[in-house]
């Protein structure tokens, strides 16, 4: 069953789920790499949590107007509005030095999630149908994915990759040295806005498949894995996208093969298995490579007359 799900031969719906989630992973990994380098991953987490009440609220509004509450465009719109509201709230709280950035994010994250859970419990008691699926927005339930959702995920991946490809150099310079970028005349605020918009798009599209609690994991963990494996920017971004897509593919297949496995949680565990492997075995930054280097140095100091080579840069070496 797992093999069939992995190879897309476990039926049409399972194939849609696996392909759609993998396409989403591609976008999450690529955007996540830039968010990581810009130091903005916590914003993604806060936005995802803040999106939850938007989803439940949209469900209620849809009921009120007699629309199909399972229609995902309505829920996506609610999620997008609430997530954007969350980001604006963070900025409002953090400007003027009222709260530090991380505190502002923690406030928005917990208030958003709390509001979402309370609304969810209210909706759960209503004498209507269809609300059971809402729980999937917390930990992810890709099995509920429709063909339309998969297409949306694919379209997001395509748009995100195109935009990142086009803005590759300005965004890279923004992440590395924003002040220098500004002196060259780059629109630093506009670029940050574009990066935020991409992050929000990933969060909102990923909410259904991967879940509010897990979506940030699929943005950060593959990016961190890629950074362990590569010290070059372009390979790191490509690898991050591929690691995330592979994790999403395998995780979605696993959860399709075993009913009841939450998709987002499974995907994040697969991604973290890759991370652990890179942490151990990455060519230069891995723990094994570091241990081997230490052993080599130790052997040299033990050799009579041998002098241990100082590390690159010697005593003047700066913080890493």
């Amino acid at each position: 069953m797992l093999l069939e799900a992995l190879t897309l031969s476990a039926g049409h719906n399972a194939a849609v789920v696996v392909l759609g989630t993998a396409a989403f992973g591609l976008a999450a990994g690529a955007v996540g790499a830039f968010a990581l380098l810009r130091g903005r991953v916590l914003i993604a987490d806060a936005a995802a949590h803040a999106a939850l009440p938007g989803v439940v609220g949209a469900f209620l509004v849809a009921l009120l107007f007699g629309w199909n509450p399972r229609g995902s465009p309505v829920l996506l719109a609610g999620a997008a509005l609430a997530a954007a509201g969350g980001v604006l709230a963070i900025q409002a709280l953090a400007t003027g030095g009222r709260l530090k950035d991380d505190a502002a994010m923690a406030v928005v994250l917990s208030v958003g999630f709390g509001l979402g859970m309370v609304l969810l419990s209210v909706v759960q008691r209503l004498p209507i149908g269809g609300q059971a699926g809402l729980k999937g927005f917390i930990l992810g339930q890709a099995a509920g994915m429709l063909a339309g959702d998969a297409v949306a995920a694919g379209a997001l991946a395509l748009c995100a990759l195109l935009l990142l490809g086009l803005l590759y150099r300005p965004l890279a310079l923004l992440c590395f040295d924003a002040d220098f970028a500004a002196t060259l005349g780059l629109p630093v605020r506009g670029l940050d806005l574009a990066l935020h918009a991409l992050t929000l798009a990933v969060v909102v599209v990923g909410l259904g498949a991967v879940g509010a609690l897990m979506v940030v994991g699929l943005m950060v963990i593959p990016a961190a894995t890629a950074r362990l494996v590569s010290s070059r920017l372009a390979p790191m971004i490509v690898l991050s996208a591929l690691f995330a897509a592979a994790s999403a593919w395998v995780g979605a297949a696993l959860s399709a093969a075993r009913a009841g496995l939450p998709t987002g949680a499974t995907i994040v565990l697969v991604a973290s298995a890759l991370f652990a492997a890179a942490l151990l075995f990455a060519p230069r930054r891995g723990l094994v490579a570091a241990a081997l280097r230490r052993a080599e140095r130790w052997k040299k100091t033990k050799t009579p007359g041998g002098v241990a080579e100082p590390p690159a840069g010697g005593s003047e070496r700066s913080r890493r």
């Binding site: 086009l166 590395f176 002040d179 220098f180 002196t183 060259l184 005349g185 920017l233 003047e316 070496r317």
Partner: protein, 252 residues
């Protein structure tokens, strides 16, 4: 004979009555300073004197409350192509996945355009900038594997690659070893020889007179400004730091 008199050159930088505040608290008060074109100018003062803020205000990175900044007689935005900025080394993430050459090449993007690959000729120019600071051999090394002084020189190479007429440097000598200091000093002298203008935030009182031709002594406001030889007096320095500072000592 009027026609034969040399036209006075437009000053490279002219700041008039510049006031900058962070959150209501003024950091710079009514700063007025002119730097003639072709000068090597040092901005000197204690920590928190507003030295970095002055550079950032000139570059439009922090807004001014009031006052006027002219670069070669024009607003900065109109002549930004003639200006290069070298930020403080600590303001950059040195774990970022880039090589020394890739950082130096950032100084070529503006001329090349942001959306096409770097032509081989431009890559050569970035490499030449690295060679100027003595780092040609380390071009393909990850920036995190460089020493502090080498990292400082990579930022200098990027500023050189911009081929600017005015270079604003925030502590180019901070935390560098003797080899890097000599390399950076040589570049400054060469820039002066080419008629370029350099304005650098500087901390080392003992090396300042031998390196720079102009000086601004700053502590929130202008304490003294002008040619190094007549301005950099023990009295003015003591006034800047609020206490007598022996010239032989390095101010941290």
């Amino acid at each position: 004979m009027r026609g034969l008199a040399p036209q006075p050159l437009e000053p490279a930088l002219a700041v008039r009555d510049l006031t900058v505040a962070y959150g209501g608290e003024p950091v710079l008060r009514a700063v007025t300073w002119q730097v003639p074109a072709g000068a090597l100018a040092a901005v000197i003062g204690p920590n928190g004197a507003g030295k970095s803020t002055l550079l950032k205000a000139v570059l439009g990175l922090v807004p001014a409350v009031s006052g006027e900044v002219r670069v070669f007689g024009s607003p900065f935005a109109a002549v930004r192509r003639r200006v290069a900025y070298l930020p403080q080394r600590a303001s950059v993430d040195w774990d970022f996945p880039l090589t020394a050459l890739q950082v130096a090449a950032q100084g070529r993007y503006r001329s090349v355009g942001w959306f096409r690959p770097l032509p081989a000729r431009e890559r050569q120019r970035a490499l030449a900038a690295l060679a100027e600071v003595g780092l040609a051999d380390l071009a393909h090394r990850h920036i995190g594997a460089l020493s502090g002084g080498q990292q400082q020189r990579v930022l200098l190479a990027r500023a050189l690659a911009l081929e600017a007429d005015l270079l604003l440097m925030d502590e180019p000598f901070a935390g560098v070893d003797a080899a890097s200091e000599a390399a950076i000093l040589a570049v400054l002298k060469r820039l002066a020889g080419l008629g370029r203008t350099v304005i650098a935030v500087h901390h080392d009182l003992s090396t300042a007179p031998g390196t720079f031709s102009e000086v601004l002594l700053l502590n929130g406001r202008v304490i003294a400004a002008g040619p190094m030889a007549t301005t950099f007096t023990a009295e003015a320095i003591a006034k800047t730091y609020g206490a007598p500072v022996p010239l032989g000592l390095v101010a941290a």
